[in-house]
């Protein structure tokens, strides 16, 4: 089963990660699947609704994704954070790298940046 599903409406690529644990055992496969989905729209929304746990290699994956998107001048928005994922991203100050929004529906809205940046 695919661990990444994605839809594209021209403005937003919405990627859902269909794993419960974004950890060292899952990252390599997800990275490969993400390759084909990125760079197709000016904004990429990464939906982590199903992810309950993220470790440091998961955090590393987000940095990798952010860097790839920055190269193509696309924006990265991350939504649907579990408490644990929020704890990890906060401690690494990743809200400075990309926009974090609570609700994935909100992510595709007109101005996610102002409403979403570090909404803790």
């Amino acid at each position: 089963m695919k661990k990444v599903t994605h839809t594209n409406d021209g403005t937003n690529t919405i990627i859902e990660l269909r794993v419960r644990d974004l950890d060292v055992g899952a990252v390599a496969e997800i990275k490969t699947e993400l390759e084909s989905a990125i760079g197709k729209a000016p904004r990429l929304i990464l939906d982590l609704e199903e992810v309950e746990f993220m470790d440091s290699s998961g955090a590393g994956l987000l940095v990798w994704l952010w860097r790839r998107l920055r190269a193509s001048e696309s924006e990265l928005v991350i939504c649907g954070l579990s408490q644990q994922v929020r704890v990890v991203l906060d401690s690494l100050n990743f809200s400075r790298l990309f926009t974090i929004v609570e609700d994935c529906e909100q992510g595709a809205g007109t101005d996610p940046i102002e409403g979403g940046r570090d909404s803790r």
Binding site: D23, D55, S57, W64
Partner: protein, 581 residues
């Protein structure tokens, strides 16, 4: 006058003229003869001179030949075309060719590639007025023997112009033997350093006491390239009191390491001998006893030892110490208002026999931080040769006084590495941090344990185990549970990746204990012992996408300690405060 008379007179005149001519001729002949004689004499002299000179030259040439043949170094001359013109006995010895089989051959026969193919070019370039690489200087090169073996040699080449002939003389010194000696010497030095290093790690550095009540202790050592005489040890008296010995032997190497180990043993013996029941001896009495046993030996060895021997009691808050010429200790109050170096005034051990020692006493409170250190830290130098100094160390301690002991020594290490611009130091670095924590013993609420194998697929089970254990504790979750799960997961992942190098199926044991105010997790394994700095620290500017693990662990827990348990397994201890102050 008659005709007859005329003729007679004429004849007489002619005879006289002839006689005169004959006389003249005779005189000339004699002159010539004399000249001839003189010439002959001169020629004989000249011949004698030439003969003598020739003999001299022959002797000189024989002498030069003898010198060349008797020379220890190989001497080879070549002409401007690279053909060998002469080859002495030592050269034959070195290269394995007899002179008569190699003279006339190209000299490049004596060198391996790439020089073998390029030597003609070197020569041509030099003769064309190019820059000489080798002429007039010496250098280490590789030679090629007749049997095909290569060897290191020292070659110096000089140029001789002889009439219209241009010759080059090469003097060759075979370095194989010296290289072998050098290698053997380097190996011997390396062995000594390793032995010293093993002595240091196993005999000189004791383990900080873990799980003292109200005392958080951590030690840091960075051994230098050579073995120094730094040492420290801890003697646990009870759950709230321990003795600490830190010292430095004058000198370096295995001898200093052995003296350090001996000094430690003397302290332990004196402490045991003078302890009656549970009553501990005064520190000064222990030092007196050690000094009287050790000083005569140290004087004989012409060395001395600086020590600071301290007793830390959490029950009374008192810290006593005897400072024998060591660096003193830094005492930093919880508020940071006071952060001073306190020193005693005694001489090092090994200076004066029969010395009696004085102890110093200070009071501490909860939250205070103490640092004992070796002068390797304060004497560390920056690339511009500035000393680190005591003030910088005090400042570093003051700034980080709110951290746990392990984090404090880690910060000191980081600050020093930044200051000196490298990880390698001339002197050993040693320091011990002691944090005064709340002394009240806590009752354990629950404990549980889990054994996993080193497989990534086990991480889910690990997280479930920790999650369930902490949620059973009935302590309100203010986010600490997710933080603890994250930290434990990172440490176990590191054990799999770095201690076991990704090998599957290896055991990892996790013990979790819940106390009213903290959770304690021990993660033990049989792989390579992880040290705090064996995994690089991350950069958080987004230029790297790895290495966040240890950073996360640091952020998620209050204390990390690395130690060996009684079974000899390497363990990582994590402590997480579960209530907010």
């Amino acid at each position: 006058m008659s005709l007859e008379e005329t003729l007679r007179r004429r004849l007489a005149r002619e005879r006289a003229a002839r006689e005169e001519a004959e006389r003249l001729l005779e005189g000339k002949s004699r002159e010539l003869y004399d000249v001839n004689l003189q010439l002959e004499a001169r020629r004989a002299t000249l011949e004698q001179a030439v003969g003598e000179r020739t003999a001299e030259l022959q002797e000189s040439e024989a002498r030069i030949r003898a010198i060349l043949e008797g020379a220890v170094d190989g001497i080879i001359t070549i002409d401007s075309g690279g053909a060998i013109d002469s080859f002495n006995a030592a050269a034959s010895e070195i290269f394995g060719y007899a002179a008569d089989e190699i003279v006339g051959c190209k000299v490049n026969r004596l060198m391996p590639e790439p020089h073998h193919s390029q030597h003609d070019d070197y020569l041509a370039r030099y003769i064309d007025g190019g820059d000489p690489k080798v002429i007039g200087t010496g250098r280490e090169v590789v030679g090629l023997r007749k049997d095909g073996a290569t060897f290191p040699m020292y070659l110096s080449v000089s140029e001789v112009v002889f009439g219209d002939r241009q010759l080059f003389t090469g003097i060759v010194h075979d370095l194989s033997a010296r290289k072998r000696t050098e290698v053997a010497l380097a190996e011997a030095r390396q062995r000594e350093a390793e032995v010293g290093g093993r002595i240091q790690q196993s005999l000189l550095f004791g383990q900080p006491p873990l799980e003292m009540m109200g005392l958080d202790v951590a030690a840091l050592t960075i051994p230098s390239q050579s073995v120094d005489g730094d040492f420290f040890d801890f003697f646990r008296n009870d759950d709230m009191c321990f003795d600490l010995l830190i010292g430095d032997v004058m000198g370096k190497g295995v001898v200093a390491a052995l003296i350090g180990a001996g000094t430690k043993a003397h302290f332990l013996r004196a402490l045991n001998k003078l302890t009656t029941g549970t009553r501990l001896p005064r520190l000064a009495a222990v030092v007196d006893s050690v000094s009287s046993a050790l000083t005569p030996q140290l004087i004989e060895l012409e060395t001395f030892v600086t020590t600071l021997y301290a007793r830390v009691s959490r029950a009374t808050g008192k810290v006593e110490f005897v400072d024998c010429g060591h660096t003193g200790l830094i005492h930093c109050s919880a508020s940071g208002d006071q952060c001073t170096v306190i020193e005693g005034h005694d001489l090092p051990l090994g200076i004066i026999e029969g010395e009696s020692f004085q102890q110093v006493e200070i009071d501490t409170e909860t939250g205070d931080l103490l640092l004992l250190y070796s002068d390797g830290i304060t004497e560390a130098r920056s690339p511009s040769q500035e000393q680190f100094g005591t003030a910088r160390l005090q400042d570093c301690v003051r700034r980080h006084r709110h951290l746990g002991a392990q984090a404090v020594v880690d910060e000191i290490r980081t600050t020093l590495v930044e200051f000196s611009g490298g990880e390698e130091f001339d002197d050993d670095f040693t320091c011990v941090a002691i944090k005064m924590e709340p002394p009240a013993p806590e009752k354990i609420r629950m404990s549980s344990e889990l054994t996993l194998t080193s497989d990534v697929s086990e991480l889910g089970r690990l997280r479930t185990f920790v999650g369930e254990a902490v949620s059973e504790s009935d302590i309100e979750d203010l986010g600490w549970q997710a933080e603890l799960v994250t930290a434990v997961n990172e440490v176990v992942t590191n054990v799999m990746r770095h201690a076991y190098h990704g090998q599957p199926g290896k055991p990892i044991r996790i013990e979790l204990e819940m106390y009213p105010s903290e959770a304690v997790v021990r993660i033990c394994h049989r792989g390579i012992g992880l040290k705090r700095h064996s995994v690089p620290s991350p950069s958080l500017d987004g230029t790297e996408d790895g290495g966040f693990g240890l950073f996360l662990v640091d952020r998620m827990v209050d204390r990390i300690a690395y130690y060996q348990n009684e079974a000899g397994d390497d363990c990582i201890l994590l402590v997480k405060k579960v209530t907010r102050p």
